[in-house]
């Protein structure tokens, strides 16, 4: 039995965490994640969860405590944003490489400097090579659904990798929307109990975590990680389908919006995808064949499936909410173009937008569609959409 509520993105993530009732949550506050953990801490205080909440002195410590607790065999969750994720950096990699299925909600915020508390994706896009699975959420509903599914994806016996769910700071985190939630028992049944491979608390079977791993074995451990990440594509689809049966909302690697007959497709992730859909709706009313492909899973990157859809279009634009500073386009642009290489001649155009929380307007996305139609393609240097000259 689902229940319809009005929730902000942060409330949706906190409610999902309450229903999951993780064993351990180490956390340190940072805007715009602070509210998420403040709400969850009230559940701890009120005895609504059995969670051991550890208030630490920094995000580096938060992720370190998460690693320790997860190695002990606990189900561990945490949350952060921007500079907090940056301070975790060293341990973010260790969590993935040690194959600990920690789930972390990252509330997207621009990295300093200059200091800015609003949304862009520079934080999680920077972590794209850390070995974490990444699920991007468009709205509060997806935040809730992704957090619940993330536990199952992370803890799948073939995967054993941490998962980052993301939602756009303030735009989603502090905006109230309609969200359908499951019953507590349904979520409990869906996530089940964690079966850890080598729990440190199993003192009858002592093991060593984090030993020195040099030229003779390190490479093999990276190979295992790469294989698990590759396999995660199937598992994300399996979990998404099972979740669909339970909730009525199925999830894939990406969402196709009006793409079937679309000549021009905009690729976006996060809340920007919602704006792009609104832009596509208006253009469709005028008879334009336009669509939106919303990426949900950025790691692992769904290259093959994505290329099959985008290859049908006449031109594709990719929207990046982080710069990347490669000089040749944002991270999403580069991956999409790489996915199409050798499979399709479709021109791919790169746009960087919304840095530091600047609004993405519907008319701007319509302008992007217009560029595609006119044959204006930014494939060498991205167009910085909405920046002042």
């Amino acid at each position: 039995m689902s229940k319809t509520r009005a929730l902000t993105g942060n409330e949706a993530a906190a409610q999902a965490m309450r229903q999951i009732d993780p064993d351990v949550v180490p956390a340190y506050p940072i805007t715009p994640q602070t509210e998420l953990m403040q709400i969850f801490s009230s559940f701890v205080n009120n005895g609504q969860v059995k969670t051991e909440m550890i208030l630490v002195e920094s995000e580096h410590s938060a992720m370190s405590a998460a690693v320790g607790a997860s190695a002990a065999g606990a189900r561990v969750m945490t949350a952060t944003s921007a500079n907090g994720l940056a301070l975790m950096w060293e341990i973010v990699y260790i969590a993935a490489s040690t194959r600990l299925p920690i789930v972390m909600a990252v509330v997207n915020r621009a990295l300093s400097a200059p200091i800015n508390i609003h949304c862009d994706h520079s934080d999680t896009m920077g972590a794209r090579d850390s070995g974490w699975i990444q699920l991007y959420g468009e709205n509060s509903q997806e935040v809730y659904d992704n957090v619940v599914q993330a536990v199952r994806i992370a803890e799948h016996p073939d995967i054993q990798l941490p998962v980052m769910t993301t939602h756009d700071g303030f735009i989603i985190s502090h905006t109230m929307e309609r969200v359908d939630t499951l019953d507590d028992e349904e979520v409990q049944k869906f996530v089940g109990t964690r079966k850890a491979n080598f729990p440190l608390l199993d003192t009858a079977h002592p093991v060593t975590y984090g030993p020195l791993d040099l030229q003779d074995y390190y490479f093999e451990h990276k190979m295992q990680q790469a294989e698990a990440m590759k396999k995660a594509r199937e598992v994300i689809l399996e979990v998404g389908a099972e979740y669909g049966k339970l909730s009525g909302r199925s999830y894939g690697l990406f969402d196709e919006y009006l793409t079937d007959d679309a000549e021009y497709v905009v690729v976006a992730l996060g809340s920007g995808a919602g704006t792009a859909k609104a832009a596509a709706d208006e253009l469709r009313e005028r008879g334009e064949k336009v669509g939106v492909l919303k990426l949900r899973v950025f790691r692992p990157f769904p290259a093959e499936a994505l290329a099959a859809v985008l290859g049908r279009a006449k031109a594709v634009a990719v929207m990046d909410r982080s710069e990347g500073f490669s000089g040749i386009g944002g991270p999403v642009f580069q991956e999409v173009r790489s996915a199409l290489y050798g499979k399709s001649q479709v021109p791919v155009s790169g746009y960087v937008y919304g840095l530091g929380g600047r609004d993405l307007r519907i008319d701007q996305v319509q302008h992007v569609f217009h560029d595609l139609k006119q044959g204006t393609i930014y494939d060498e240097v991205p167009c910085h959409l909405g920046v002042r000259e």
Binding site: R99, N197, V207, Y217, E220, H221, Q224
Partner: protein, 118 residues
């Protein structure tokens, strides 16, 4: 060690976990030594200063007698030779190890002077 097959990525526990307790015994840490100690038992007075100072527990002792070196774990630091009050321990380059007659524990066979003449 070199002849043993090293397991591939499908055969080892994920995440770098060592799932077997106490298996450090299989790990030979002395394979990168550039010099090795050898013992002249005729000169040795079994004071066991070498045993006290060896940082790696690689001095072999039985019945209060110095009996040689554990080459599987000796790193060749030379502290034993430096510490020895009667200069019974000599550091020799690994490359020359084959030209000096010792038992497997590094104890010289025959008189030191005679051995050096060979």
């Amino acid at each position: 060690m070199a002849s043993e097959k090293i397991p591939g990525w499908k055969e080892i526990p994920a995440g770098g976990v060592i799932a077997e307790a106490g298996n450090a015994i299989h790990y030979k840490t002395g394979d990168w030594r550039s010099e090795r100690p050898v013992l002249d038992k005729e000169t040795c007075i079994n004071c066991l200063q070498c045993w006290v100072f060896c940082p790696d527990g690689s001095i072999m002792v039985r019945d209060e007698q110095m009996t040689g070196f554990d080459y599987d774990h000796c790193k060749g630091c030379g502290i034993c030779a430096h510490t020895c009050p009667v200069k019974a321990i000599e550091m020799i380059p690994e490359d020359d190890a084959g030209s000096i007659a010792t038992d497997e524990w590094g104890v010289r066979q025959g008189k030191k002077e005679e051995a050096d003449k060979q």
